[in-house]
C-alpha cells in the first residue's frame, strides 16, 4: 500500500492516472466506452423490438419521394423541401426581428425614461407569460382582420419575432449590465454620447457574454416555428402533417422531420460557437 495518498483520494476520477499505480479495469476509459455502446445497443434493440411487435409495415422507400421527384428529367421538389425553405425564411426574418425587438426593448428598459421602462416591462411580462399557441392564434384570428391584412406567413413571423424578442431582450440586458460600471463612466468622460458609448464601448464588450444564451433563444425560434402549423403557414411541420394526412406514414415522416429540425438547430449552434470563438480571439 502506498503511503502517499493519490491527489484526489480514492474516490477521485479515474482519468488522472498517477504514475505509481494504474486504474482497475472497471474504471478504465475503454470500459466506459464499452458500457456506453452497450447502452445505446440496448436502447436501439428495445425500440426495434417495440416497432416489430406493433406489426407496422415500415415504408422508408417512400420517403425520398417526399423530398424530390424526377419528372421528364426536371427535378420537382417535394413538400418537405418546400416546407424547409419556408422554415428557413421564417428563421431568417424571425431572427432579424427578434434581435431588433430585443435590442430596442433592452435599451428601453435600461433607459432613464419612465414611459420607456413601463412599455418595455409591460410588453415583456405579457409576452413571456402567455403560451405561444395562444399568441399565434390571437395574431392570426384576431389581429389580422383588425389590422386588415391577410398573410399567414408574416403574421407568424411577426408573432414569433415578438415572442422571442422578449427572451432576447433579457439576454441582451443581462449582457449589457455585466459590463463594468467603470466602462460607462470612462466612455462618458472621453466625451462619447450615450449612443456612441453603446456602439463603441459597451456592446462590443457585452456581445461575447450574450452569445451563449442568445444561441438558445435563436434555437428556440426555430423550434417554435413548428407551432405555426396551427395557422396554416406552409412551413416544415405543416407540410409534414398534410403529408401524413395524405399518406398515413406518420412514423416515417415524424422521424424525418425530427432529424431535419435537429440538423437545422445543430447548424445554428455550430455557427454561434464559431462566432463565440471569433469574438473571443479579438478580445
Amino acid at each position: 500500500m502506498s503511503s502517499v495518498a493519490s491527489p484526489e483520494g480514492d474516490a477521485g476520477a479515474p482519468r488522472a492516472q498517477s504514475r505509481t499505480h494504474s486504474v482497475p479495469w472497471w474504471r478504465s476509459a475503454w470500459f466506459d466506452v464499452v458500457q456506453f455502446v452497450l447502452l445505446l445497443g440496448l436502447i436501439a434493440w428495445f425500440a426495434w423490438r417495440g416497432a416489430d411487435a406493433m406489426g407496422y409495415r415500415w415504408q422508408w422507400y417512400r420517403v425520398p419521394g417526399f423530398f424530390y421527384r424526377k419528372v421528364d428529367g426536371a427535378i420537382i421538389w417535394g413538400p418537405l423541401v418546400n416546407g424547409l425553405v419556408v422554415t428557413l425564411e421564417i428563421a431568417a426574418w424571425g431572427l432579424v426581428l427578434t434581435l431588433v425587438i430585443g435590442l430596442v426593448t433592452a435599451i428601453l428598459r435600461l433607459s432613464d425614461s419612465l414611459a420607456g421602462r413601463a412599455l418595455a416591462v409591460g410588453y415583456l411580462e405579457i409576452v413571456r407569460n402567455t403560451p405561444l399557441l395562444v399568441q399565434v392564434s390571437i395574431f392570426y384570428f384576431v389581429l389580422q382582420p383588425l389590422l386588415g391584412f391577410n398573410n399567414p406567413l408574416w403574421a407568424g413571423i411577426i408573432c414569433l419575432g415578438f415572442f422571442e424578442g422578449a427572451f432576447a431582450s433579457e439576454v441582451i440586458r443581462g449582457g449589457i449590465m455585466s459590463v463594468v460600471r467603470g466602462q460607462w463612466e470612462a466612455g462618458a468622460a472621453v466625451g462619447l454620447s450615450p449612443s456612441d458609448n453603446y456602439r463603441f464601448v459597451i456592446l462590443p464588450q457585452a456581445v461575447p457574454i450574450m452569445l451563449p444564451p442568445m444561441a438558445g433563444v435563436l434555437i428556440n425560434l426555430i423550434k417554435h416555428s413548428a407551432v405555426l402549423s396551427f395557422v396554416a403557414v406552409f412551413e416544415l411541420t405543416t407540410e409534414a402533417r398534410n403529408l401524413i394526412g395524405d399518406t398515413f406514414l406518420s412514423f416515417e415522416v415524424w422521424f424525418v422531420i425530427g432529424i431535419m429540425y435537429l440538423c437545422l438547430t445543430i447548424s445554428l449552434s455550430a455557427l454561434v460557437a464559431w462566432l463565440e470563438r471569433r469574438v473571443r480571439s479579438r478580445g
Binding site: L42, F230, A232, G245, D246
Partner: protein, 272 residues
C-alpha cells in the same frame, strides 16, 4: 460481491427482462380482443353532428349512437377516444383503439392502410363561402373559383381535400386542425370558402346568412360512403361488422338514426 460478479448477474437479468417484455401472444383478432376485454375502444373525431359534446360534457351524435348500438349487440361496454382527425388512422394502426367510427369516407388511398366495412351512411361535399369576398373578386363559375388568388380552407385530412385537388387545383388550400378555425378564416374574410361534408355547410349558411352562402348549391360534389375502419389482417372483424351493418340496414335502424341527426336540428338544444 465484487464488481465483476455484480455485472455478471445484472446483464443476464436485464436481457431476460427485456426478452420477456418482447414476448407477446399473437392477437386472434379485434372481435376476440373486445370480448375478452368486455369493452370496445372506439376512435373518433368530433364533427357536428357526427360526434359532438353535449352541454353535460358527454359525447352525442350519429356516430355515438352507432357505436353504442354495436356495443349493445355485442354485449360489451363502449369507450370513446376523441382524436384529431389527421392522426386517427395512424393511431388505429398503432392499436390505440379497436375501430374507428367517425364518418370516415371510404377512399382507396386510405384503404391501403386500413380495412373498411361496407358503408353505413353516405356523405357529400359542399362549400360555405364568404359572400362579400366572392363578389369583390368576381367569382361566379367553377372556372373563376379555380384561380391562384382563391383561398379555400378545409379540415386537415378530410374528404373535401380530394374535391379541392380535383376541382380547384389552382386555388390555395389552407388546412386547419379544426372546423371552427377553418370556418373562422372564411368568416373573417381571409379565405373565400370552406369545404366540408354536408350538412355542415348548410348549417353554417343558416347560422350566418349575412356573411356566407352556397356558391354552387347544397351538396353538389363527390358522394362518398362512410365506413367503419379496422386494422388490416382481420377478416373476422370485417365479416362481423359488414353483417352487423347489413342487419341494421334491413331493419331500418341505421336510416332512422341518420335521419334523426341529419334531417333536423332538434338536437341543437342539447349542445347549446
Amino acid at each position: 460481491m465484487n464488481r465483476f460478479v455484480r455485472w455478471a448477474v445484472k446483464i443476464p437479468a436485464l436481457v431476460l427482462a427485456l426478452t420477456l417484455t418482447g414476448l407477446q401472444g399473437a392477437s386472434a383478432g379485434v372481435i376476440e380482443d373486445i370480448q375478452q376485454r368486455g369493452k370496445i375502444i372506439v376512435g373518433l373525431s368530433t364533427f357536428v353532428p357526427w360526434a359532438m359534446r353535449a352541454k353535460s360534457g358527454e359525447l352525442i351524435g350519429f356516430e355515438i349512437d352507432v357505436a353504442r348500438k354495436l356495443a349493445e349487440d355485442m354485449g360489451v361496454e363502449v369507450e370513446f377516444q376523441p382524436t384529431a382527425f389527421d392522426g386517427i388512422i395512424p393511431a388505429l394502426v398503432a392499436k390505440k383503439f379497436d375501430l374507428v367510427i367517425t364518418g370516415m369516407a371510404l377512399k382507396p388511398k386510405r384503404n391501403l392502410s386500413v380495412n373498411f366495412t361496407r358503408p353505413y351512411a353516405y356523405l357529400k361535399v359542399g362549400m360555405a363561402a364568404n359572400k362579400a369576398k366572392a363578389e369583390k373578386d368576381g367569382l361566379k363559375t367553377l372556372k373563376d373559383w379555380n384561380q391562384s388568388k382563391v383561398i379555400l380552407t378545409i379540415k386537415r385530412g378530410t374528404a373535401p381535400g380530394e374535391t379541392v385537388a380535383r376541382l380547384f387545383p389552382q386555388a390555395k388550400l389552407r388546412q386547419f386542425d379544426d372546423d371552427a378555425q377553418a370556418l373562422q378564416d372564411v368568416l373573417n374574410g381571409n379565405a373565400h370558402g370552406f369545404l366540408t361534408s354536408e350538412p355542415k355547410p348548410t348549417h353554417y349558411v343558416l347560422d350566418n346568412p349575412n356573411v356566407l352562402y352556397h356558391p354552387f348549391g347544397i351538396a353538389p360534389w363527390d358522394p362518398t360512403a362512410s365506413s367503419i375502419a379496422v386494422r388490416k389482417g382481420d377478416p373476422d372483424a370485417l365479416n362481423f361488422l359488414d353483417n352487423w351493418i347489413l342487419y341494421h340496414e334491413l331493419d331500418g335502424w341505421l336510416q332512422q338514426t341518420h335521419d334523426k341527426w341529419f334531417k333536423t336540428r332538434d338536437w341543437k338544444k342539447l349542445v347549446e
